[in-house]
Amino acid sequence: MSIPVLKFDAVIVGAGGAGLRSAIQLSEAGLKTAVLSKVFPTRSHTVAAQGGVAASLGNSEEDHWTWHMYDTVKGSDWLGDQDAIEFMCKKANEVVVELEHYGMPFDRTDDGKIYQRPFGGHMSNFGEKPVRRSCAAADRTGHAMLHAMYQRNVKANTQFFVEWMALDLIRDEEGHVLGVTAMEMETGQIVIFHARATIFATGGAGRIFYSSTNAFINTGDGLGMAARAGIPLEDMEFWQFHPTGVAGAGVLITEGVRGEGGILRNSSKERFMERYAPNAKDLASRDVVSRAMATEIKEGRGCGVNKDYVLLDITHLDPATIMKRLPGIHEIGLQFAGVDCLKEPLPVVPTCHYQMGGIPTHYSGRVVAPKDGDHSSIVPGFYAGGECACASVHGANRLGTNSLLDLLVFGKSAGDSAVEDLKAGRAHRELPKDVADKTLARISALDNRKGGANVHETRLAMQRTMQDHAGVFRFGDMLKQGVEKILEVEKAARQLEIKDKSMAWNTARTEALEMENLIEVAKATMISAEARKESRGAHVRDDAPDTAEFPNGRNDKEWLKHTLFSPVDNSISYKPVNMQPLTVEAVALKTRSY
């Protein structure tokens, strides 16, 4: 079959923050750049980011990038690479000011500077006291950011392919990346994007969990494509959870609800946080609350038919206070839990929020993978940035407002590196003869299979397995069972069947293709989590408790290393954490406590 070939200097997959930022660098350098996106760019999930972007501008009080770096290393529980973290924190002011010049409507101080507000974990003077470091545009920072960058791309003649889904990475025998195969949703046509540089900016994969704050679009497409092309995934055991998502929906319930007096209760209506945190109770830190909730559920004190959630009770609060101080919460209860929270408690569960791991990259945005004994050999022609990539700056846990910074800094550096490599002479390489065979075989199998697995049921089985076995608080026996279960789900995910065979706008086919990406991420997460026998950052195991020898369960002697999950044979290898910053002294290991 003859497949159309579109030739570009660069193809970028994903039009959220990282993709748009990369595209600016490439298009403004005069390179012919295509951006593929499943949705219109300003409808990417970056829109949901409200907190702001971290930069030590020092507009409101003294600040310094070395303080930001210290906070980020500490937040990462020392799993972040310190060269990448220095690079990001040092670049923060530059990328924020650039964004301002693109027209981003940042909130302002009275004297016209970018207004900055405090955010959890960001401190002055190496952890001394909170500092105002977050730059925001009201509660629409991510949204405003996308608009500013989209306009800039239009000006720079970036070519957008909207409502296109990238399907597979194209690699040749020497391992060079030559572009992607993709599907136009309106026609169902498969096209080859042949490029000198391929940049992935496909966002996270939070939909592997049953309860996730991530929009439905976060299906880990970039990770799935990378995995199918034999590229390992790094640190996939690390996922950030928020304690209170609406059970069954995932919609976030702000911590302000507990701040206003909300109480968590189990099936006996007991205020269980009194047992776990006698002083702070329901206002204990996110991880303490999440772990307590998970323990209550695991020990059979959850609520509902499946005993799989707890209750957040605000019925004792004054309704007028709720409506005034917690706007939207009443409607969220009605719409997503079917509960009037003025009269009944809300069902809540720890909910997946952010993926720290991803496609392994150098801080230059170049993708790296093990080759000939080198654990970080550059994959020629391949770059990644944003949530799909692992530079690694977030390590075992991400600080709030560092995600928007990540996508700006590493989106830009991926673009810059691609420009550099192309200007150094990287040419279009010959496409392999079987360039689209695997993609066409996958599509054909979906269209022709009879008696296969149902997409919705398979996705649900995966999400339940991930939630129950690799949730916010992990148990050794559950992880072991989880590995077996997810490998069973994988078998079903390899045998999906769709009823709708039409070409145009076949959402059943698109969702099946997304499912094939999700399962790669789910499998990597479960196997990586089972293998890491310590607690660190967001990966907390019941069998790696807080002891004098291993505070917080963290074991630096054995586990100060990055996980690399190989999708080829489901094996795990490790590579060292880079503890050497670029120009400053390393942030020495110590116990992470706030």
Binding site: A48, H143, A504
Partner: protein
Amino acid sequence: MERADYERLRWRCIRRALLELDISLTRFLDNGFDKLNDEEQQVFVELADMEDHDLWYLISGQADCDDPRLAPIVAMLRKS
């Protein structure tokens, strides 16, 4: 509505930037949309074309819907 138009609309409802809208719009498509007349369906298409925050604030009651054409469909979305 033609099949292709409906499927395009469906994709634009089930893949939003905000999870709240993914759930809310998908539910309405599955349970309320086919009961609308042609004109009402076009109003829904118009709503689905809005920026995510603007639409969610309307549906969640955090913003008032002043447009009499949109208001009945917004009210349905709030109840769906």
